[in-house]
């Protein structure tokens, strides 16, 4: 289906998308203090956050894999996936009733601050270091897969090497977050993203963009394989 669209056309579409995004950002943006960058001054209306979190959690797996497993005869056959979802509910209840009161009571910006107050310096640094490690590898991996697709369908046709595509992609993300951190993303960028692409197609694509942590965590290798096969068609 993509062959029918020229790389030049796709590039213009992408350019228009980013221009729109940055115009919205410019019109609604503001300079931010550290507190604002980190936690949006703690004043984001909660429905907006719920909206963002749903967007993050309903990913390609929900749209592709979940309907797919219903008729299979292996893991998660029929509606058995609901058993996991019920487990999720318990997990969310634990977060809301046990973890979040601690985070709020200690007035934490970084949740690993808890470990320092409870155990000490080394525990705290270990927790934070592990987060930095797993998040940077995980995020780089997701981005890598998306950039491979962009490179394959669009930028390679203009003679751009891979590193240049990666550099452009990251510069855009950097620009997008540099001013606002959390507040800005929720109020504008994130929100508009969801409005633009809410609908099946968006989620089809999340499938390729996301290596799933949530449920398929145990099957990362399988997931990578699926993504690679899809990326390279």
């Amino acid at each position: 289906m993509i062959e029918q669209l020229t790389p030049g056309f796709l590039l213009s579409v992408i350019a228009i998308y980013f221009i729109t995004l940055f115009v919205i950002a410019y019109l609604t943006g503001r300079n931010t203090s550290n507190a604002n960058f980190f936690l949006a001054n703690r004043n984001t209306p909660w429905p907006l956050i719920a909206f963002g979190m749903i967007g993050t959690s309903i990913s390609g797996v929900t749209f592709i894999s979940i309907p797919g497993v219903v008729g299979g005869d292996g893991l998660n056959q029929a509606f058995s996936y609901m058993q996991v979802v019920l487990g999720y509910m318990v997990g969310y209840a634990v977060i809301a009733l046990v973890l979040m009161p601690i985070y709020y009571k200690l007035n934490l910006t970084s949740i690993y601050g808890y470990l320092e107050q409870r155990f000490g310096y080394n525990s705290y640094k270990t927790g934070a270091a592990y987060f930095l490690l797993s998040r940077s590898v995980g995020s780089a991996f997701r981005l890598y897969l998306a950039i491979v697709v962009l490179q394959y369908f669009v930028t390679s046709h203009f003679g751009l090497p891979f590193w240049a595509t990666a550099l452009i992609a990251l510069t855009l993300i950097w620009l997008y977050t540099v001013r606002g951190g959390y507040s800005y993303r929720y109020l504008d960028g994130h929100f508009s993203n969801h409005l633009f692409f809410i609908g099946f197609n968006y989620y089809h694509c999340r499938y390729w963009a996301n290596a799933e942590y949530e449920f398929w965590g145990a099957d990362w290798a399988g997931c990578t394989e699926r993504i690679f096969k899809n990326v390279l068609f």
Partner: protein
């Protein structure tokens, strides 16, 4: 067919079976196995993850954050029911039109959807890819920057001026962006699916110690000798990795699946217990504050 009939169709089909108890512990769909995995996945990968929790911490107060969490989880529940129903309908549809089910069932929905969609799909594909990637990458970048500034540069305790900190945050932000860039370029140089996915799996093992640390902190009142925490948190993912890898030999064919996370957390918990002492011994000479 109206909505009620649709629901009836799915409910009567073989696909709507939800609970699996009879297969016992070796059945991958066993209720307890699935249920416990679901809870653990959520607690660690959402509750102990700065990226996911930072969103919640930006609520006005605890009550709002809890409301957010409950709304979010109920919505998620409904959404999942809808998608399973969609799945059942897709299979019923496929059998009606005689469509062969793809070997990888993941492809069923795209196969049906793509066939009826015009080339516009290509545009939406690329834009959707960018939007989806950006939504998760910008949040990760913000969380990484926050964690580094607060956890390693001690932003909240240091007496430095707000101006200087903003400048530092700016550089950390650039640094994190560069870190991601370097990692991406390394992935591209490796270009080996198996190696990259192993790296990714290894990164996932870091959730075990976090689970152990938080569980020990919340469930017990004991204190730990802090200087021993690092070796324990390094050892338990490594031991878990070996356990999982060689569970065939070591544990007579038992497959951990997702429960390796629980094992990993438990190892950390036991390790912490070994280096712990009762809170009253606060003046112990071994105490390292």
């Amino acid at each position: 067919m109206n909505f009620g009939e649709l629901i009836g169709l799915v409910a009567r089909s073989e696909y709507s079976k939800m609970f699996f108890f009879e297969g016992g512990w070796s059945d991958p769909n066993n209720f307890f196995k699935q249920f416990i995995s679901g809870a653990l996945i959520t607690i660690t990968m959402t509750g102990l993850d700065q990226d996911m929790m930072q969103k919640n911490l930006s609520c006005r107060n605890l009550r709002d954050a809890q409301k957010n969490m409950f709304t979010f989880s109920i919505t998620l529940l409904v959404v999942n029911v809808l998608f399973l129903t969609l799945g059942a309908l897709l299979y019923i549809y496929a059998s009606q039109i005689g469509l062969e089910i793809p070997e990888k069932t993941d492809y069923l929905y795209p196969t049906i959807a793509f066939r009826h969609l015009p080339p516009l799909m290509g545009i939406v594909f690329i834009l959707g890819l960018i939007a989806a990637t950006y939504a998760s990458s910008d949040s990760a970048l913000t969380a990484l920057t926050t964690s580094f500034c607060v956890d390693f540069l001690n932003f909240e305790k240091s007496p430095e001026s707000e101006e200087l900190k903003q400048k530092k945050r700016y550089y950390v932000h650039i640094g994190m962006t560069l870190l991601l860039l370097v990692l991406i370029i390394i992935f591209n140089i490796i270009s080996n699916e198996a190696v990259i996915s192993q790296l990714f799996v290894a990164a996932g093992y870091t959730y075990g110690p976090l689970l152990g640390l938080f569980a020990f902190g919340i469930l017990t009142k004991r204190k730990v000798r802090d200087q021993w925490v690092i070796p324990i948190c390094v050892a338990s993912p490594i031991i878990s990795f070996i356990l999982d890898r060689y569970s065939n030999v070591l544990l007579g064919g038992f497959k951990f699946g997702f429960l390796i996370l629980a094992a990993n957390g438990l190892l950390t918990f036991l390790g912490l217990w070994a280096i712990s002492y009762r809170a009253e011994e606060e003046k112990s000479p071994y105490l390292n504050n």
